[in-house]
Symmetry: C2
Subunit: 199 residues, 2 copies
């Protein structure tokens, strides 16, 4: 590696720690910051601190919020009877881009993983049980990831929540739209066969 | 786009302004910052400001420097008789990774471009002429980009500097190593033919 002046080398190192940024991208971005005006650098720098200082978790659903309650929980036009459970706040982004879901969310902040020591107590499940106990929720859609941890979490939640008299559903699994059967693995294909629908 | 809380939306917008970062990468990085500790965010934030505050241009060659003089100009083991002229400070990175060049640099901070109103006065050429006038420089290697602006700059520099009694050379152009003749355009191939060497 060529020698960079210390502040530049440090900025490159910092950028490289971000996801998806390698040495070359980090250099390119660092030189961009160096060329940009000081005001632009200040805005970026301040924005980074602000997400740490001004954001917290929603008191109801644990989504990221800039107040007590997030924009989904405080939006009265969203149906409180349907709650979609996700692992992380950024999973909400994917669901929202479909513009199809009009219910509320609940963020677990993780998934069950005994190997990594993450049990039910490490997840934000208690708040979900309380929401259901209040009687307003009719259906819980479990949208945890389709992997071992996500499945385990889904099974755990179904066993926990069904006795409370609520309908628990799991998002459909199968061949992604626009893909090709050739590229699908056997587990996905068997899930697709299981989840077949009459035409 | 889904609604993000304001500080998060602002951070995503700021990241999207960086080169090579689109909406999805910006979201991923912003959520990473949100999850990271406050200390990590502070380090990144501070590093961004530091490159603006602690770095300046080398008094001799206009490279980025954290003092009066950059690490190449202040390194007495580097040959002051050979000066490599580049357009931007980041071009030095590419040349240094070869570990072959042992001379000094001169950064123009741009290339001639009459269409964009960039004439010789907009470039840092004066300092180069002064360095040559001091008599220590024997060869100037022009390593501006192999495009219209870089070529125009190289021709201009050759005409300006040769009368001062210095040797002016241009970096070789041809087929990139590891590439295939099939993918080379006609201008590159004709440059490669021109630049052929006896074996």
């Amino acid at each position: 590696m060529p020698d960079f002046a210390e502040p530049l080398a440090r900025l490159i190192t910092e950028f490289k720690r971000l996801p998806g940024i390698g040495q070359k991208s980090a250099q390119r971005i660092a030189f961009h910051v160096l060329r940009a005006g000081r005001e632009d650098a200040e805005h970026l720098s301040q924005a980074i601190l602000d997400v740490k200082d001004k954001l917290g978790l929603c008191r109801v659903c644990n989504n990221i919020a800039d107040g007590e309650i997030c924009q989904y929980c405080s939006n009265s036009s969203r149906d409180p009877k349907v709650v979609c459970v996700v692992e992380e706040p950024h999973n909400i982004v994917g669901i929202e881009t479909t513009r199809q879901f009009e219910g509320r969310y609940h963020v677990l902040h993780g998934a069950l993983s005994p190997l990594r020591g993450i049990g039910p107590d490490s997840l934000k499940i208690k708040g979900l049980v309380e929401r259901i106990a209040q009687g307003e929720v009719c259906e819980v859609i479990v949208a945890t990831n389709p992997n071992v941890e996500g499945e385990a979490t889904a099974v755990y939640l179904a066993r926990l929540l069904k006795p409370l008299g609520v309908k628990v559903t799991r998002i459909g699994m199968g061949i992604p739209v626009g893909s090709d059967l050739e590229f699908a693995d056997e587990v996905t294909i068997s899930k697709a066969m299981e989840g077949r629908r009459e035409m």
